[in-house]
């Protein structure tokens, strides 16, 4: 699982039936420096200003059943595990597993 900032939504008119009931979110993965900046802060505030800036890492689309919105920090899983929650085979590469309330990140001072 990795963490990322929700930076947008994808809307589909025609879609796989298995997608119904969830949303597709655009997620920007967090870099190591952003973990430090978000540590011990109050997250879960949706706003036009996402808590973390864009990074060089590629944004990705993830399927969400929890109701995350732009500005949230979420944990997402990728690969085969992203399809595990579905009863039938689903064409999903990334799945939002949690909406993060709080990050407690304390790397050693020497590292």
């Amino acid at each position: 699982m990795r963490l990322g900032t929700v930076i947008g939504r994808v809307t589909l008119t025609l879609q796989e039936p298995v997608y119904r009931g969830g949303t597709l979110l655009l997620i920007q993965p967090l870099s190591r420096s952003q973990y430090a900046g978000l540590s011990q802060k109050k997250l879960q505030q949706t706003s036009a200003q996402p808590p973390a800036a864009l990074t060089k890492a590629n944004a990705l689309v993830a399927y969400d059943q929890l109701g995350a919105a732009p500005g949230h920090i979420v944990g997402f899983t990728e690969g085969a595990e992203a399809t595990a929650p579905f009863a039938i085979d689903a064409p999903v590469d990334a799945y939002v597993a949690c909406i993060v309330d709080r990050i407690d990140y304390r790397p050693p001072a020497t590292a």
Binding site: R32, G75, D104
Partner: protein
Amino acid sequence: MNLVRIDGTITATACHPSMRGFRTVICQPIDETGAAAGDPILAIDTHGAALHQRAILSTDGSTTRQMVRDPRSPLRNLIIGIADANEKTRK
């Protein structure tokens, strides 16, 4: 399996049911000298690894699904051991 250093934890109220009751730790992948390599990743920890302890991270989803007792769990990363020492970093 990767060698990681535990650099913190996260809390999440809204989560997949299979995550409830388990500790989710922030893992920093490290090389054999202990230097950080890459961005942090998250894992379920059933061993109670302490901050800055070195641990072994498994990325086997089927093991993790068995551990959380949910065949539909999206979780993949699991702390499967805590390292006492490794040769290159033994003081």
